[in-house]
Amino acid sequence: MSEYSGILIYAQVTREDYIHTVFFELVDKAKELSKKLNGAEVNAVIFCRPGLTRTFTEAFQNKGVNKVYCFEDEKLANYSTDYYSKLLVDLVGVIKPEILLIGATNQGRDLAPRVSGALGTGLTADCIELDINEKGQLAATRPTFGGQLMATILCKTYPQMATVRPNVFKVNQQDCFVQTEIVSCPVNISYLKNNVEIVDFKKTIDTVINDLDSAEIIVAGGKGMKNEKGFELLKKFAGSIGATVAATRTAVEMGLAPQSIQVGQTGKTVKPRVYIACGISGAIQHTVGMSGSEHIIAINNDENAPIFDIADTGIVGDVFEILPAYLNYHG
C-alpha cells in the first residue's frame, strides 16, 4: 500500500487577488473522488502575498477543503515558475498526496509539467473526466488527436498528477462546510533566483475576451465569416442578443480574431446555454471545446458540414444573408 494519501489541489490566485474558478470546480470533483478513496482529505495549496489567504477562508470552508497549505511572501505576489514549482515540489515531498490536481490555465500548464518533471512523476494534461478505478488509481480521460480520440490514462507513480481546463467540471452549488485548517508553510526561497522578471502587463482591453467562461450565449465565427467585415457582422449580431464572441482556430489564424477568444482544442472550453456557430465547418479541434454547450445552433451553407452532426438546431443557409436580415428585423 502506498504511503501517499489525500488529494492536493492548486489554488491559483489571479492578478486581481481572487481564486480562479477552476479551483472550485476541481474541489467539487475531488470531493467526489474522495468518496472512492475512503474519504481521503481534500486539501489546497496557495501561493500569494502576505495576508491574502485568510480572506479566502470562508470560501475554503464552504467548499469543504480540509487543509490549506499557504505560502505567503511578497516575492510570491506574482506567479514565478521558479519559486512556485520549487515550493510545490518541497510541499509534495513532505505531505505526500496521492493525487495532485492543477487547473489547466496558462499558469497551470506552465507549472504542472515543471513540477511533474522535478518529482519524477506522471502528468495527464487537459483531462475532461477524472475517476477512481477499482484499484484505487486515478483514471484520467483526455482528448487526443485533435479531440477525435479519447484516452483514459493511468499513472504508475505518486502523486498522480492531472490538469483540467476551466469549465470542464461544473461547480456544485451545494456547500459542504468543514472547519478548514490553514497551515502556514515556510517560504525557503532566498537561495533561489527568479529567472523570469515581469517587466510589463497589459490587460487585454477588448472586454468580450474574458467573458467566455461566464457567457450565457456565445456567437462563434469560423472560416466561413471570410474576412474582417464578416467578423464585424458577427460582433454586431452578438451585441444585439447580448452574446459574447468566440472564434475557431482557423479564424484566429486568418487574423480575424485574437487567440484569447479561440474555442477548441488549443483554445478555451466553453459551456454556455446557447452556442451559435456561424460559418464553422465543425472540425473536431473546434467542437471538442464547445460540444458541452447546452444548445448548439449551427448556421452554415454547406448542409454536409460536420458541425450539423453535433448541433441541436441546424440552419442551412448563408450567414451573410441571415445575420443582416436578423439585425434588420430585431437588431
Partner: protein
C-alpha cells in the same frame, strides 16, 4: 547565440479517418510538421538574423522518416539537425520524451543559449514537453511566447499572450521558450537553401549515444500509460432546417429565446 529548435512530426489531424472498429486509421495518413513548431522556427530564424554569429540546430524525436522534415527545416535557414531515433524510445510519454530530448541537447549542444519549442503539438496537445525539457536541464522557461522584442546573447525580452492580457518578461540565457502563433509571415525555403540543406548532415542520436538506459525512456521510462482509448461521440440531436432567409431568422430568434431564457431586445 546557439539555438536548439525542437520540432515534432504529427499526423495531419484535420484528415483523420476511422476504421470500422472506431480506431484511428494510421496507414496513409500524411505527416506534417506541427504548426506551432513552424512558429517556433520562424522566431528562431528571426533571432538568428538579429544576432550575428548565431547557429540553429534542429532536434526532433521520432522515426527515421522524420529526416525529411528536418531537411525542410534546414532549408529555411537552420544550420544542422539531430534526429533522436531509437526503437527503444517507442511509447514514451511526455515525461520520458522531455528527458530524452534534454539528454540529446545536452550531448550534442552542451553550450546552447536558447531552446525554442512550439507551445503545443496538435496531436497530443499537452503543452508539457517544453517545460519538461527545461526542468531536466534546470533552466528557466517562458511559455506562451508571442514575440521577442529585444534580444542579445545574454538576455531576451519576450511578450507572452495570456488569458488575461499581454505580459512582457525578461529572461537571461540559457533558457527555454515555447512559442505561440506569430504575426509575421511564414518563412519560405529558398532554392539555394533547399540545395544546401540536402548536403547538410543529419546526426542520428540513439539511446546509447545520449547515455540513457531502457528503464529511463520508452514505455518503461514513462510514468503514465493509456489504459483504454475510445471514440468521442456527440450526444446532440441535430435537426437540420433548409428554409428561406425570413424563416431562418424566425427560427434563430425563437431558438435563442427558448434556450437562453430570454434575450435583450
Amino acid at each position: 547565440m546557439k539555438i536548439a529548435l525542437c520540432i515534432k512530426q504529427v499526423p495531419d489531424t484535420t484528415d483523420i479517418k476511422w476504421t470500422e472498429h472506431n480506431t484511428i486509421q494510421r496507414e496513409g495518413v500524411e505527416s506534417v510538421i506541427n504548426p506551432y513548431d513552424t512558429y517556433a522556427a520562424e522566431l528562431a530564424l528571426n533571432l538568428k538574423s538579429q544576432i550575428e554569429g548565431s547557429h540553429i540546430t534542429v532536434f526532433t524525436m521520432g522515426p527515421t522518416q522524420a529526416e525529411s522534415m528536418l531537411r525542410k527545416t534546414m532549408a529555411l535557414g537552420c544550420d544542422s539537425a539531430v534526429l533522436i531515433s531509437d526503437k527503444k524510445f517507442a511509447g514514451s510519454d511526455t515525461y520520458a520524451t522531455g528527458l530524452t530530448i534534454s539528454r540529446a541537447i545536452r550531448t550534442v549542444m552542451p553550450d546552447f543559449d536558447l531552446i525554442v519549442c512550439g507551445q503545443f503539438a496538435v496531436d497530443g496537445d499537452t503543452a508539457q514537453t517544453g517545460p519538461a525539457i527545461a526542468n531536466f536541464l534546470d533552466i528557466p522557461q517562458v511559455t506562451y511566447v508571442k514575440d521577442c522584442i529585444d534580444c542579445s546573447d545574454k538576455n531576451l525580452t519576450l511578450t507572452r499572450e495570456l488569458e488575461d492580457g499581454i505580459e512582457t518578461v525578461k529572461v537571461s540565457t540559457p533558457a527555454l521558450i515555447c512559442v505561440m502563433k506569430q504575426d509575421f509571415e511564414t518563412c519560405r525555403a529558398k532554392i539555394n537553401g533547399i540545395i544546401s540543406a540536402a548536403k547538410k548532415p543529419v546526426r542520428i542520436c540513439t539511446m546509447e549515444d545520449i547515455g540513457l538506459t531502457p528503464e529511463k525512456t520508452g514505455i518503461k521510462g514513462s510514468p503514465t500509460y493509456v489504459s483504454k482509448a475510445f471514440r468521442n461521440v456527440s450526444t446532440h440531436n441535430a435537426k437540420k432546417y433548409k428554409m428561406n432567409t425570413a424563416d431562418s431568422v424566425q427560427l434563430l430568434r425563437e431558438t435563442i429565446e427558448k434556450h437562453s431564457g430570454g434575450c435583450d431586445e
